[in-house]
């Protein structure tokens, strides 16, 4: 690191009257080490600090935004939370006739390895559409897969769209996997049948998925936490194994990719059966090839009071039925998918820092105002076009 070596201040001892505040190159270097979550405050300190904050923002990787869609039969709305400004923004989306009405395709989130790519898709028996941008302000129609299914696992693995499992009317199609090149030329999307999902996943009530450039990873959200990956080159699944979650009290898990690492979030707690209550949320790394969990290093741990907030269910008694986990670029958003009250943002500090930084984020007002609408969530680092 090179800073200006000329020092225009006299070397004198202590004393008042001298401008002792951090400025110039030193200020820039300090600001570059300040978390993105503090930059807004830094920018309000003084003009010099604002300049330093803005130039730091231009040089660094942005934290991922949280994308929220409220879907109902008649309309949808879209909202983005930007950690840097610490605020939600409503994004106008054109009323897309084909996505509304009784036969409306269901809009849901997909796992994606494409940074800046779509995070949502819409699927019905006769229609498949892929969002043209992360939030889904426009859509691209594709040929629907050959097997009709409900709530499949959908992922963009590189440029290949993989649709796996889901509820199939025809028993013979259970666990069926199809793949197509979503960005191939010619506008066509030719679906290739691939090896079906392993048995363990066909009856799973809930699956968490993550995508790398080449593979789709799936994990059962509940014990025994069966896990496997699907390789889009070989079109084969690896042998299923149960993830050995380092917390023996873990009840719910979810996976995601962040900075090229496969991460596992697990909610642990105490109590049995309906009496189980979440007490901890921790994140570990998972080895991509072997699906070994790196138990020696806890990547992140949610503060206790936040876990209580996450499990807050308004007295319904269900606590935390599953764990919402969206991660990208060294940040992660946690939420309760059933009782959505708050989001919890975790920033993994750079090496030399003192562990993770956690913040609470209130959802946009519309979520509470429209309790019947379905909330669909994604997260995406906003790529800046230069």
């Amino acid at each position: 690191m090179e800073m200006a070596r000329n020092c225009d201040r006299e070397a004198e001892d202590g004393g008042g009257g001298r401008n002792s505040s951090i400025h110039g190159d030193v200020l820039e270097e300090v600001v570059s080490r300040v978390s993105a979550l503090d930059l807004l405050h830094v920018s309000r300190v003084s003009r010099g600090w604002r300049t330093a904050a803005i130039s730091s923002l231009l040089c660094r990787r942005r934290p991922p935004c949280l994308l929220l869609r409220l879907q109902s039969r008649r309309r949808a709305s879209a909202h983005v939370y930007d950690p840097i400004s610490g605020a939600w923004r409503d994004v106008p989306i054109p009323p897309e006739a084909s996505l509304h009405g009784l036969d409306a395709p269901r809009v849901a989130a997909l796992a994606s390895s494409l940074s800046g790519g779509p995070r949502f898709y819409a699927l019905s028996s006769s229609k498949l559409a892929l969002a043209a941008d992360p939030l889904g302000t426009a859509w691209r129609d594709l040929e629907p897969p050959r097997c009709w299914r409900t709530d499949p696992t959908v992922a963009l693995v590189g440029t290949r769209l993989v649709v796996a499992g889901g509820g199939c009317a025809l028993e013979g199609n259970a666990g069926s996997v199809e793949m197509c090149d979503a960005y191939g030329g010619g506008g066509g999307c030719w679906w290739e049948p691939c090896e079906a999902m392993p048995e363990a996943f066909r009856l799973s009530p809930a699956i968490s998925a993550a995508a790398s450039e080449r593979r789709l990873y799936v994990v059962e959200r509940e014990p025994p936490f069966g896990a496997s990956w699907f390789d889009t080159e070989t079109r084969l699944w690896c042998p299923t194994r149960s993830l050995s979650v380092p917390d023996p009290t873990a009840r719910h898990v979810a996976i995601g990719f962040s900075n090229g690492r496969l991460l596992l979030a697990a909610a642990g707690g105490s109590g049995m059966g309906w009496g189980w209550a979440a007490e901890s949320v921790r994140v570990w790394m998972v080895e991509e090839e072997t699906l070994e969990v790196a138990s020696e290093e806890v990547v992140a741990e949610m503060p206790r009071e936040m876990v209580a907030g996450l499990a807050e269910d308004g007295g319904g008694g269900w606590g935390l039925p599953s764990i919402g986990f969206l991660c990208e670029s060294g940040f992660a958003y946690f939420y309760n998918p059933v009782y959505l009250k708050e989001f919890f943002l975790c920033e993994q500090q750079a090496a030399g820092g003192s562990g993770c930084r956690w913040e609470r984020i209130a959802p946009p007002a519309c979520v509470e105002q429209r309790p019947i609408d379905r909330v669909v969530l994604g997260c995406c680092q906003n790529g800046r076009r230069r």
């Binding site: 690191m1 800073m3 070596r5 020092c7 070397a11 004198e12 001892d13 202590g14 001298r18 002792s20 505040s21 951090i22 030193v26 270097e29 300090v30 600001v31 570059s32 080490r33 300040v34 978390s35 503090d38 405050h41 830094v42 920018s43 309000r44 300190v45 003084s46 003009r47 010099g48 600090w49 803005i54 923002l57 930007d82 840097i84 400004s85 610490g86 605020a87 923004r89 750079a350 090496a351 030399g352 820092g353 003192s354 930084r357 906003n382 800046r384 076009r385």
Partner: protein
């Protein structure tokens, strides 16, 4: 018998230090290779030089007897790294010492980082910058101003506009 190097501060005070202590500074290491053992440092005051020497003395002792292969590997890796974040000091005792060392006011830290940069003592530069960044963490603008004794040079109208602005103009996409 340790070879001694003489450092002369901006206000003329002389400090004799062991070679390995002085060599924590890459600049000094280069100068001594060619020339004298008396090195004038006109831009560094005695007060700051004493503090820097104290840091170098502590780190020289640790660097000559690395605790584990991983700590020396980390040191080797960092010198060729272009990433601006500090590498973790792997020895917890040394980290604790560093944390005590930087319990200084901001203007002293500023002086030290200027000197450490001039002398090219990378670890000390990183340590101070990280410490200062840590003092900013989680604070609102007014608290930051108090902490660093900074004058608010925004006009009231500008401040009001900033408060209303909840996302910067160039973030609109």
């Amino acid at each position: 018998m340790a070879k001694m190097i003489k450092l002369v501060s901006g206000d003329g005070a002389e400090f004799e230090v062991e070679e390995e202590v002085a060599f924590q500074s890459k600049i000094i290491k280069d100068i001594v290779a060619d020339a004298d053992d008396v090195i004038p440092l006109p831009t560094v005051s005695s007060k700051v030089l004493i503090q820097v020497i104290e840091y170098c003395r502590k780190h020289a002792a640790v660097n000559s007897f690395p605790l584990s292969p991983s700590s020396s590997a980390a040191a080797a890796a960092s010198s060729s790294s272009s990433i601006s974040y500090s590498k973790p000091v792997s020895d917890p005792a040394l980290r604790a010492w560093d944390n005590e060392f930087v319990k200084l006011n901001n203007s002293s830290l500023f002086d030290i980082v200027i000197a450490a940069n001039y002398l090219d003592i990378e670890e000390l530069v990183d340590l101070v910058l990280e410490t200062v960044a840590d003092r900013i963490k989680g604070k609102q603008a007014q608290e930051i101003r108090r902490q660093f004794n900074i004058e608010n040079d925004f006009t009231p109208e500008e401040e009001e506009a900033l408060r209303r602005e909840n996302s910067w103009a160039f973030q609109n996409n």
